[in-house]
Symmetry: C2
């Protein structure tokens, strides 16, 4: 079974040294979230993850969630762990104190999300979707709904879901068939089938609060006729207690490649009682509040699984002996494989991507908080645009890199990596859902290019590029070589952006065929930008913690030499057009 030690040193470094977004620091309620407080929280978080949650990963893989006589049963140990999880208050970490939450910012909760993803993604999903549902209800529901449902959800006694997908509509929600019929009392009767519903049913909580998109009887076709409804598994009485079973049943659960401890359900809604959330026919807008935050968390899942894959590869490389290295000190016999250049390269590739991603994610967490809570509307709007821009990037890049890193980890383990014993292949299987769910990575790339670069508030990508250019006006000579490499790649990004803007006018297929490559280019530039911020501190504070900062500098060095140049090929291939692709006859 893989081992795991939460990367506290790196997390605390980020929280102490890189919490330098001016607008973020103006948010009143976070001023008392000191480094010491965060350190205490993260240390406790590490304990529950390392000791209680990590062992659930293998248990869940070997004893998948099952559907038995209409009841979904989670793997052995899940119930006890979940009970401890909510009792210790982890579910409420980032929630509003008004409903019993602890009000921690995403700069802290993102670290917890990462640890949970490292420990057991399948277990994490039960609480994760609840937070998504919480965010959505909190943003769009009436006070009466909020007061009725949120305290129990924050406490973790009730969980939540997002019910979007149907058999014929995944990416394209306009095709949905689920119906909502308004009743005389203002409630709705919901009927239809939803599929791929994560945590759609399970035995961990007393109630499950489904957020369901459906079409009201008198609503138009397509995406403009979709409304959002809250549909509890058990009807909630006026006094807040759990009443009779609502018309929601579990048709089946999916047998999947990985995350086998997570229940992925087919849910049948049969005249179930629902309450409309937010304005009629604006259901997708409301749902997207939740989806966007959720997409960033999926990116963090990729980061978390990458981290545990790296830790275990590194440990194995230090204990496995095969072959002699070129600089072998051993007179006889083999060297540890960590002495081999190729293995070292693979490990540094992982490390430089992981730490860059973590820094980028920390930057994005600050922007997210500004977008939600800064007192100035214009500042909020600017941050919102940046978060919108980076959401598909973080979701796709981190999850794709998670595939690369878990795969490279298997290669380091060789044949042992392919067997079930070591648990490395499970990391790969578990992570494999992340480039698919919450919108496939191609859908993210389309979203980025067609909706996020330029929006009603102006040219967002230009603002972002300007922001990076401003950030890298650094005098320190030691950073110069890094800046030069990044600048060259910013130029490619700018050229690529111009190409996109040009093609957008009358050759949209060229853009579609290029969007995945564009996302990767932007993602690598953004990660390098995050690395520059880490480098600034590393050179400035070098003498205070030589070993730590030297490692940072060398890791960044690898990223700029060996990861960043991938941009070149993405740009070259993408700009070769699409006519020959669109004309092709697939016989």
């Amino acid at each position: 079974m893989p081992t795991y030690t939460a990367p506290l040193e790196d997390m605390i470094f980020l929280y102490e040294k890189l919490r330098n977004n001016k607008s973020y620091n103006e948010i009143e309620k976070y001023k008392e979230v000191t480094s010491d407080l965060v350190k205490d929280i993260l240390q406790e978080a590490a304990k529950i993850n390392q000791n209680i949650i990590l062992p659930l990963a293998k248990i869940g893989d070997e004893n998948p969630t099952i559907l038995e006589n209409g009841v979904v049963r989670t793997p052995p140990g899940y119930k006890e762990a979940y009970k401890k999880f909510i009792e210790d208050g982890w579910q409420s970490l980032s929630c509003d104190p008004k409903y019993g939450g602890q009000g921690m910012p995403k700069t802290v909760s993102a670290f917890f999300d990462e640890m949970l993803s490292s420990s057991s993604l399948a277990f994490k999903l039960y609480s994760e979707l609840s937070i998504g549902a919480y965010n959505c209800i909190n943003s769009h529901a009436t006070d009466s709904i909020k007061n009725k449902f949120l305290p129990k959800m924050v406490e973790g006694k009730w969980s939540g879901t997002m019910c979007l997908t149907e058999p014929v509509c995944g990416t394209d929600l306009g095709l949905l068939k689920t119906k909502a019929v308004e009743q005389s009392d203002g409630t709705f009767k919901i009927s239809g089938q939803k599929i791929f519903i994560t945590s759609g049913d399970h035995d961990l909580t007393e109630n499950i609060i489904h957020l369901v998109i459906a079409r009201a009887s008198d609503s138009p076709k397509g995406t403009k006729g979709i409304s959002l409804f809250l549909v509890p598994k058990f009807v909630v009485k006026e006094d807040g207690s759990v009443g009779q079973r609502n018309g929601v049943s579990t048709g089946s659960i999916e047998s999947k490649m990985g995350i086998k401890g997570s229940a992925t359900c087919v849910l049948n809604f049969d005249n179930s009682i629902g309450y409309m959330i937010g304005p009629k026919n604006k259901g997708l807008n409301s749902m997207f509040t939740m989806m966007n935050l959720e997409r960033i968390v999926v990116g963090i899942q990729g980061l978390g699984i990458s981290e545990i894959a790296y830790q275990n590869s590194l440990a194995y490389a230090k204990e496995r002996k095969q072959g002699k290295s070129h600089n072998s000190q051993s007179g006889d016999g083999a060297d540890f494989i960590i002495e081999h250049a190729d293995i070292r390269k693979s490990l540094l590739n992982m490390k430089s991507i992981i730490e860059g991603e973590r820094a980028l994610c920390f930057w994005l967490s600050q922007q997210t908080e500004v977008s939600l809570y800064h007192k100035d509307e214009k500042t909020r709007q600017e941050a919102t645009d940046l978060v919108s821009l980076m959401t598909p990037v973080v979701k796709s890049l981190f999850t794709d890199m998670g595939m690369e890193i878990t795969s490279d980890a298997m290669q380091i383990f060789g044949g042992y990596g392919y067997t079930k014993d070591q648990g490395i292949e499970q990391l790969y299987r578990d992570n494999r859902i992340t480039p698919i769910y919450e919108g496939t990575n191609s859908v993210q790339a389309i979203d980025l290019v067609f909706r996020k670069l330029i929006n009603k508030n102006g040219n967002i990508i230009d603002k972002y590029i300007s922001l990076i250019k401003k950030d890298i006006l650094i005098e320190d000579q030691k950073i110069k070589p890094f800046i030069e490499k990044l600048s060259k790649n910013i130029e490619i990004l700018a050229k690529f952006t111009n190409w996109i803007n040009e093609k957008m006018k009358n050759s949209k297929d060229d853009v579609s065929a290029a969007c995945n490559d564009y996302l990767k280019v932007l993602g690598l530039v953004a990660t390098a930008h995050a690395w520059v911020k880490v480098l600034e501190v590393s050179f400035k504070d070098y003498e205070k913690n030589k070993q730590f900062y030297e490692e940072k500098i060398q890791t960044a060095n690898f990223f700029f030499n060996r990861v960043l140049p991938r941009i070149e090929s993405y740009y070259l291939t993408a700009t070769s057009g699409s006519k020959y692709i669109m004309d092709f006859k697939f016989n």
Copy 2:
């Protein structure tokens, strides 16, 4: 369950139009292997694969091979299918008629290997290792051994294994501990443990012939003291009948990520009777005969799995509707996803890689036959060098591309790709062993760069580059744009090669850290070379089969525009040196 139709048109095209290696055509015994005969064979091969073997894939995944009271039991249906498989003579396809084989060249058997890999890799492995063992015995054993063992192996009544790996020695065989003690009658008693032995035990054949590497009592340490032994599961009597059980037992079988129908065994040899094959202490040389041919077949496995992944993605893209394309003809509702530029790009990426690989493999099959059977020693040697050069390339490139293609197939299927129902995720899991076994892809890259570029016969890579340059001196104006792109990349390959040669002198770690990238560059150039040969015929014979050749030209166009330019980044990253990698302290 995935469907499969053997790509007969492409295979027959290659056999008819690209069997143009002069030396190959001088091999007497293959002169009567006409296109018509091959067409008949391939049509029958398609039938058994599509009808009998394909269904075993899902069965084997759901009912893995088990070890029960010391007996290894294959999944339901395997026995019946194997019986039919050998009765119809497929096991003997490429074997020497002297021992009952049909004497087909690898230009034919490679197609069969591809079909089997597409249908069920797990099932294929039972016969594949037998062919490996057959080749090794045929090349190195005495006539008496050959006469005793080969006819039954060719018939398929007995199977074979390769027993190399031990708990502490995988890549580094010099560390092996298995001992061989010579007896007064010239036989040996073998004792030790071997792990990861594919088809090490099973219930499909009457006997299993293990080829085991071990150290004779008086042999030196390291790789120079390794000899090769034949150790049957059941001792074979003088009259050729199966006698008593030999001292070989199955300790356990591995629980794996994929190829679950294949038995991966821990074998315990306990004073088992063995016969030395080939000269003492030269066991690795003898084993490598088998390993090298086997490595090419592993590459073909990647190709075969890629083909079935492509076929099913294409079919799904034609029946799944989501979203409107930019050129939507439908007034209302969604288009088939094959109308979307991004999906088309992904499908063409698969197709252009698969068909390029198949053409490259066909070129290599001809070289392999020349290396084995041409009457002129110098011609044989030149072909041997080229085969040696391309073996690690084909093994690694095809299996890595297999991961990319099966992963992209999952993305096209979206959430359905992650569930067990569709069987797409199984292709990904099954293929995941191919970059690991028969030497990890990094080991292949090290082999390529340190042993294959320049050997005792001279500068092989320069000869190969010259050969390509000569092959692309084509006047046809229509091929010019392709040639120009390839020439540019040949220049990068040449520069990269010079860099390797330079660094080899005093900076071997630089070479080690660059070898994976170098292998990819060489592999993409080689695939483009194979595409040029296809293009020559396509333009020349265009009028004879417009639809087929137009598709070839457009597919090649994609390869040269979107796949080949990856070379740029590999070169850029690789040549950034290794000092910062070797100096890194992994604390």
